[in-house]
Amino acid sequence: MVISWRTRLHIWFRLLLLQASWNFETLQGIGFFYALLPGLKKLYGKEDLPEVSLKYIGYFNTHVYFAPLVAGAVLRLEEERVSGTVVPEVEIDDFKEMVAAPYAAIGDAFFWGGLRPLAAGVALFFAVKGILWAPLIFILLYNIVPTWIRTVFFSRGYYQGLKSVEFIQRHKLPDLAIHTKEAAVVVLGGLSAFMVFAQLTQHQLPSWLGLLTLIPMVMLGLVARKGFSTLLLVIITVSTIFLLGLFWADVIQLITF
């Protein structure tokens, strides 16, 4: 029995709602069941379906963009189980458990830790210049890879089943995540320099002063590494600037007086 492309498309769209019922007990469990339901309905009769479905609503958590890959592979395994032509090498539950956590770790590092800061850094160059297309640039830059992964990996998962794991291994995504993060750091360095330079030019201050910005930035970075909250760092920085501004205004007033 083969799941038609229409049903697979239906499942793909449902995967966009994977986290609609995200909860602290089963995380994406219900969402994963919800997405797969059209496929399960094609494979199982009314008698078996409730029992099979109950297995799917348990704990499940992976990266949201990698869920289609897992869903595709699970569909293939379900097909094989129902048809009985191939004896699956592992149980479907075990497979889900085996791949979900590593895929989540890869996805978190690549998308949240690398691609998002990188796309934001590039878009902010435009935003700082006052270009109103900056949000669109961010959306386009960021979404190319996730859309490709959601679509192509779902298809790969379905056609390759268990072998989709090898497909992921071949792409060396953890290495790519590190390179993306490095690129993000470089872009953010350039962005910082650009903003500081623009500020100094606007205030007609000597440009070399901008290099001194690195000192508080590196210090704050080290403080952040110790676990200090962003809110606290914002309060400290803004209060310091505010007080220095008041002090400087008083100095100017005294000089002109």
């Binding site: 986290q19 609609a20 935003a127």
Partner: protein
């Protein structure tokens, strides 16, 4: 005014859902959500300025597993609405007003984290309901329960938006006459500080060996290039 607040609430709802529950196309990022809100209210540049200031602040807080980062989406949207609507009411404008709106919205954004956590906690009861529905063989009910989770996330987003708007509505008009002048001495530097603090937090938390070396090299290189050109 009511129309603007309602429009803001609508954007807050859609972007809030994109944050966790549906799509994850990143329209919930401040750099998108704030200009989008401001565009609907007729002042897109205000939103763009707020987006630049908020975007990088909590970008380093990853939504990994059960971790819930602060709700920067609602901070950006509500700040934009407050800056535009209160600006019209108080006949005020400029970076100082944007900064004051952000100073009020950023701490109140903490509520977003609590509301989001509560929504996820509330959704736990859906597990039992879905399980019961499946045992009865009622698949339609089970699917409906999954979609009911969207209500929790919607209410969480709207709740955060409402808290920031209400807080700002009471606090900003009282503070504005006192802080307008003092803020003007340092407003442009504060505007620069927001993204820079965000970058330092990313730098401190990003898991890359030699991140600081790479950052400093990129900073100096870009700076020298701009200086020479």
């Amino acid at each position: 005014m009511t129309f603007s607040l309602t429009l803001g609430a609508l954007v807050s709802l859609i972007c809030g859902l994109d944050r966790v529950a549906i799509l994850q196309m990143m329209i919930s990022r401040p750099i998108v959500a704030a200009p989008l809100t401001a565009l609907f209210l007729g002042e897109p540049l205000v939103g763009l300025q707020i987006g630049v200031m908020v975007e990088l602040l909590w970008l380093a807080r990853l939504p990994v597993g059960a971790a819930v980062p602060p709700d920067d989406t609602q901070v950006a949207i509500a700040s934009s609405v407050l800056a535009i609507v209160l600006g019209q009411i108080m006949d005020a404008s400029g970076t100082e007003l944007l900064l004051l709106c952000l100073f009020v919205a950023v701490p109140l954004g903490k509520f977003g984290q609590y509301f989001d956590r509560y929504a996820r906690q509330y959704n736990v009861r859906l597990v039992k309901q879905v399980s019961a529905a499946l045992s009865r063989g009622s698949f339609l009910t089970a699917e409906g329960q999954h979609l009911r989770g969207l209500v929790s996330f919607s209410l969480s987003s709207l709740g955060t938006y409402a808290v920031i708007i209400l807080g700002g509505w009471f606090i900003i008009p009282i503070l504005w006459p006192y802080v307008q002048q003092p803020l003007s001495y340092s407003s442009s530097w504060m505007q620069l500080a927001f993204p820079l603090v965000g970058i330092t937090v990313i730098l401190g938390t990003i898991n890359v060996s030699r991140a600081i070396t790479l950052f400093c090299a990129a900073f100096c290189m870009s700076f020298l290039l701009m200086w020479l050109v």
